[in-house]
Symmetry: C2
């Protein structure tokens, strides 16, 4: 099996390291990419082709890992050039996943995601779609056991429905961003009262052991990426509208979006 | 030092067990109390007086642990009858704490709370007020070390300001109830989509190890006690209004209240 990558950021880098260790043949193109990406690709044992069209047509498995914004365009442009499978890892909305499936067909498209941290000692790969089971079985024939050094790879097929992985990713995002918004709000008030140190201590008593460090990283990423989080909440809400029109089923998600909107505007 | 209890529920029971093991003399009254409370008190080595007035006037330390609703009335009725200290453990609002202080004086009143679980192997006692440090030092002279069997007792004086412990308790409540509201909302949507089992699995990957059990207990208590949680959010918001009038500083708290209001109304 030959794997092709469209886009070569953190996700592609992590996946390619694992696939190389299993002995798969990998290819990509650096057509129009940054110097940094070119150097990264050159440092790995990956075939570099002249164009992404060639990558797509020569791959058995084509992996798209760019950004949610470019995911649909990439799928429309390259997805139908492969005879094999097209895997989208872009954190797309369930709606976008359906559009891609309609365009390139359910015999080619697998809704894919890394759940949790991309760089960690455990990598959790989730797939859904008509061909997801077959693909994963196929992979398991190549990979005798999870023997990638230092990383435990967990693979799960959620269902044969394209969209289920995107839905799970969206629900997860809605929850974790809500927690971030709560943390920002609660600690801004504590700060005004001069009680933030005591509050950290008190919440750590009943939340988990590494609560403070994980919560602080959520707070700083909320300030840093408030615009992106606000946009993601727009997608979350569009999706939730499709599940249930009633306001009461999305009170917290609406508040989370409003919170990130205010954070975003404050920065400008 | 003689300790008196007004109210004898879970908090008083836990505190009395610890105080008895340290050899302190305890008293309470069962005047007008339930059969269950009478039996509980009878089973412990606690002096039972005819009235709470007597309890108050004979105590060096008077502990009020009833309910947030009755806290102010109890303080007004019995707080000034003691020559010693009056400790309120009722999860009162910062505003109520100030009212009690104004009435019985800062030389008598200590804002007190158990942070975290009341029944656990670790008990965290927080105090604030002008006399808090003196009280805690005094206690430490009686208690050579934390030798209550099976329970680690942590004692902390936050500041010499009555209200600081109540503020911390309120901020904690605002955060944890927000998380509960988020959990309820997210999992109701996941349930509609038939994806709740997968979502539990995915959130457990990146949240803490016992995420699922703690989150499930938050969800069930949200449904069970939605009315009480809604009322507590009213107090939280009243407090937050005093800190900052702007809506943007309490977006998540407003949403949390709205969420519990809907849950409460659904039950009726």
């Amino acid at each position: 099996m030959k794997f092709g990558f469209i886009g070569f950021g953190e996700v592609s880098h992590t996946l390619s390291n694992i696939l190389l260790s299993y002995g798969f043949e990998l290819m990509t193109s650096t057509e129009g990419r940054s110097k940094k990406t070119k150097e990264l690709v050159k440092s790995l044992d990956i075939k570099v082709l002249d164009s992404f069209e060639e990558v797509a047509s020569q791959s058995d498995i084509l992996i798209s890992a760019n950004s949610p914004q470019s995911a649909l365009a990439v799928a429309l442009k390259y997805g139908s050039l492969t005879d094999g499978l097209f895997l989208d890892f872009n954190n797309i909305s369930p709606n976008t996943a359906k559009q891609i499936e309609n365009y390139i067909g359910d015999e080619h498209f697998i809704d894919s995601a890394i759940m949790g941290k991309v760089k960690s000692d455990e990598l959790n790969l989730y797939f859904s779609g008509r061909k997801a089971n077959e693909f994963v079985e196929n992979m398991r024939n190549f990979i005798k056991d999870n023997d990638f050094p230092g990383v435990k790879v967990n693979i799960k097929v959620v269902s044969d429905e394209v969209g289920d992985v995107s839905k799970l990713k969206t629900l997860r995002s809605s929850y974790t961003k809500g927690v971030s918004a709560l943390l920002v709000e609660t600690f801004e008030t504590a700060e005004k009262l001069g009680l933030s140190e005591d509050l950290w201590e008190i919440l750590a008593l009943t939340e988990n052991r590494d609560f403070e460090s994980s919560a602080k990283s959520r707070i700083s990423s909320s300030y840093r990426a408030s615009k992106r989080k606000y946009e993601e909440l727009n997608e979350v809400l569009e999706f939730l509208d499709g599940v249930d029109k009633k306001r009461k089923s999305k009170i917290m998600a609406l508040a989370t979006r409003e919170k990130f909107e205010k954070l975003k505007n404050r920065k400008n």
